[in-house]
Symmetry: C2
Subunit: 198 residues, 2 copies
DNA sequence: TTTATGACTTACCACTTGGTAAGTTGTCAA
DNA sequence: TTGACAACTTACCAAGTGGTAAGTCATAAA
């Protein structure tokens, strides 16, 4: 019965959504399996245990974000274009795949990392690449690497924070206001941090 | 035996820490009580149930942040000073009381709010006050309220994100780098968003 | 001195949790 | 046709969950 390699990917998808919304401890493997009308033992058959499933979910996040930076690696654009293009894709990714944004935030909150291993550090090359780029762009200012990193982290923080705030902001200020802000958000960020614009 | 009204506040303190670090579902009431050498039934005696204890913890966060804005309400400073002063206190609060920062972030992630009620909305007057202030400050630009709000939310997002990132960043780049960034962070934020500086 | 009350404890309880063990059943390669 | 294997299921289970019930014991008010 090979009908469903689908099942495995479907499980990861469901797990992705549920972990993002409710957190690792807020979701039972029975919940996840149940969403697909399977028993939890079927899930365990595919992944061995809960942590491994969670690991697969994180792997997905890691891959998607890794691809963004790679997609811009060799392109012949100017550094400046490359920088803003990466940022833009990042913004898009976070706001269309809110589950990814939520999972990243949740991982950041977990200081005793459940999965200490490799895949958590997809963030690092990301941060380093962007830090390097912003230094090359802001030639007039000659940013130290700490200053450059600080700037990057503020941008990323603002983006990620906004991406996860969507339900709260909608409830608090209404859908209309939220949409207005969403439209403005990226350009305003760009404007704020593009001090050296030529 | 009235020795310990302390116990009650001690429980809230411990719960505050644990909920912030591990999330609502990641902590059992037995864990919390155990930290003080009490049985969980003693805890239940004081708070009735887990959610009510959690509510008390949130109340604390709400109060502390509410005080910040109140402390600056009547002061005779200029709007600009008032604005940056509030922001600064906020930054301090988030970075000295990391548990508060973590709890706020966790609450933001919870879209099916455990405690739908009042205290969640302490954020709202906060956001509105700051939005109003920034509009009064940036007279040259004449920001729409959506633009002003966007700006505020970026600042708050950057701050909160950074505050919860501390263990991750320390592990990723070392304590030294982290301290460098921490020193720069607020001034750089201020600089970025103080476009209308006179 | 009684009575009430607050701060607990011990004893339970039903339910949920992640996980193991041992099947069953359909498919495909030898 | 057989035998392996993948994709499940049913049957369990020990440990932990939040919560109830019923007591113990010290203090303070009547």
């Amino acid at each position: 019965m090979k009908k469903d390699t689908n099942t495995k990917t479907a499980l990861i998808e469901v797990a992705h959504k549920l972990f993002a919304d409710r957190g690792y401890d807020g979701v039972s493997i029975a919940d996840i399996a149940g969403e697909l009308g399977i028993t939890k033992q079927a899930l365990l058959h595919h992944f061995g245990n809960k942590e491994k499933l969670y690991g697969k979910v994180l792997e997905g996040v890691s891959d998607r974000f890794g691809e963004i930076i790679q997609a811009h690696e060799g392109k012949g654009d100017t550094k400046r274009e490359q920088f803003f293009s990466i940022l833009h894709d990042l913004y898009e990714q976070m706001n269309t795949q809110k589950h990814d944004a939520r999972l990243i935030m949740r991982e950041l909150l977990e200081n005793q990392p459940r999965i200490e291993s490799k895949q958590k550090w997809y963030l690092r090359p990301f941060l380093e690449k962007l830090t390097e780029l912003i230094r090359e762009i802001t030639v007039k200012e000659q940013l130290s690497s700490a200053e450059a990193f600080t700037r990057i982290y503020q941008i990323l923080g603002a983006m990620n924070y906004f991406a996860i705030s969507d339900p709260t902001l909608k409830k608090m200020f209404g859908k209309q206001t939220y949409n207005d802000v969403e439209q403005l958000f990226f350009n305003q960020l760009k404007q704020m941090y593009a001090l050296d614009e030529q």
